[in-house]
Amino acid sequence: MSWQVHLPALLLAVPLLGAFLAPLTALGGKGLRNTWFVLVSAAFTMIAFLLWTRVGSTGTAIYVMGGQGWNLALPSGMSIPVRILMEIDAFSAFMVLLSAVAALAGAVFSIAYMDRFSGLEKFVALYFLMVTGMFGMEITGDFFNFFVFLEISSVASFGLVAFWRDRGEALEAAFKYMLVSTLGALMVLVAVAFLYSKYNVVNMATLGKVIEWGIVEKTALVLFLTALAMKCGAVPMHMWMPDAYAEAPAGVTCALIAVSQASLYGLFRVTYTIFGAFMGSPVIPWVIIVLGVLSMFIGVSMAVIQKEVGRLIAYHSVSQVGYMLLGFGVGLLALSDARAMAEYGFTALKGGVYHIVNYTMYKGLLFLSAGALYYATGCRNLNDMGGLGRKMPKTMALFMIAAAAIAGLPPFNGFVSKLFLYESTFAVHPILAVFAMVTSVLTLASFVKIFQTAFLGPALQKFEGVREVPGTMLLGMSVLGVAILALSLFPTWSVNHLVEPAAKALVDQASYIGAVFSASVTGGGL
């Protein structure tokens, strides 16, 4: 038996250990704390990579905690899984890998970025707790643990958003985030309670197998859908997002993007895997499509008029989440119709999955670039910036890569996912593709605005002393910059190895359900 069978447990244990030991590392000084921060981040990224490759080669992984054996999902005499069960299919593994890369980049960037502040052992502890919660949401096989991990990541996020507690805006942003997030988490818990009250089970695969389409199930679906859509920033429930993203330290925002993607993962796990059989009715897919279109258009419209660089990029997060909702909504619309799925549904789904990768990489890099500008100049307002390209050429180059990618300029990766979305959504209704294209044009306009006002223009006397940011910050940004270039230069590899397996896993409800029950009989699993 290979030690790699325990990768799902290690994925949670390593960042959790990192969190609990972080306060102790403060005893060894700044060097030990920073080394711990990077080592643990590198370790969970490596684990995520190994898990992704293993799931790619051996199929869906099952891991049971607290049972007689790690692979015994259904002990003898039991008809339903009752233990804490992790289930990692290609979609989960894909999400875990992306989240780990974003969290690693955020951690490396934060070393120099946060160096001027005190209480960093608490920062590191909260960061790792947030990462643990995020991974847990992406690999758990039961709804109650999904709620627990959602709360772990949320509570740690509140603390990180409010980390600069001398700023009233940061405290206000954290409070607002906490208010809506707690309300959403409560609704998730009520939804889980609804399902548990009827089926006496919280395991996702079992629910996917036995679920019916009654009032209880519909109510649970509504609660899941709106809570998770709110957590990923869908309009009109997005307003917490610009506040929180703009006020959190840049490295945290980079990881927060992955946390919001974990909620998006939950939304699609619920709609595709649990309720996929009932998507013959177009109501739910169209609700997701409408939320997507609203998010794309309103998010980008608000971004164009922003003057604060962090808020501008944060409104773009709302807009980019709209693209993903649109793609997954169109995929869901075609889920019960094999012909529609073959014609445009799977292309839309691939576009949505591809956009998750792209978004996580370029949005993370954009937030880190905004953080670099703040670090070097102390300014957040674009009106106060100018001529920084001369002083910070490396930051400018990395910003340009991310801005070109998010605007969907060929030959960057953002164009490929948008191409999938334009063409597939056009088959459903041309107006959807028109909204997506107009959003892309406005996206380009707003990033030209940042580029022109922050990096171009005449040199300002007040920035004479400004220098390029430290090497570790550039390294954190480069992790994402290199990922964007690799995704851009090797799109076929990205689609074949990253995107398609994840998209196929998401529509293959039977395989997700079957993995738990076959592991029970054969003692299989990972």
Binding site: T226, N381, P411, G457
Partner: protein, 112 residues
């Protein structure tokens, strides 16, 4: 790895685009190299033309601020932006209110 990506409706070929940019870059370089070589750095030829006025020493007096960007666009869509900005109140109870409202609307659509 080097193949085209088929979208079902068309295809994407990154290397065709890279070739295009290389050719375009080469043409730009060629046109630039045809420029005059007797340009004198540090002379009056170097001076910025600022409407015949002296050029301010600090770039702050020259630059176009971000709030002036897309002025025409935002003025033309002022009614739209008035509504949009008014909708973003920044009030925490409104945030929760929109969430409840959307939940109620989706519940009506699905349950009825």
């Amino acid at each position: 790895m080097w193949d085209q990506i088929l979208t079902g409706f068309g295809y994407w070929d990154v290397y065709a685009w890279i070739s295009f940019f290389l050719v375009a870059g080469g043409m730009v370089y060629l046109i630039r190299s045809l420029g005059r070589k007797d340009y004198k750095q540090g002379s009056d030829q170097d001076e910025i033309f600022f409407g015949s006025n002296p050029v301010p020493e600090d770039g702050e007096d020259l630059k176009v601020p971000a709030s002036s960007a897309y002025w025409g666009y935002t003025q033309a869509l002022k009614p739209f932006y008035d509504v949009l900005v008014g909708f973003h109140t920044g009030v925490a109870t409104d945030y929760a209110g929109w969430y409840i409202l959307v939940t109620a609307l989706v519940a009506l659509l699905i349950l009825l």
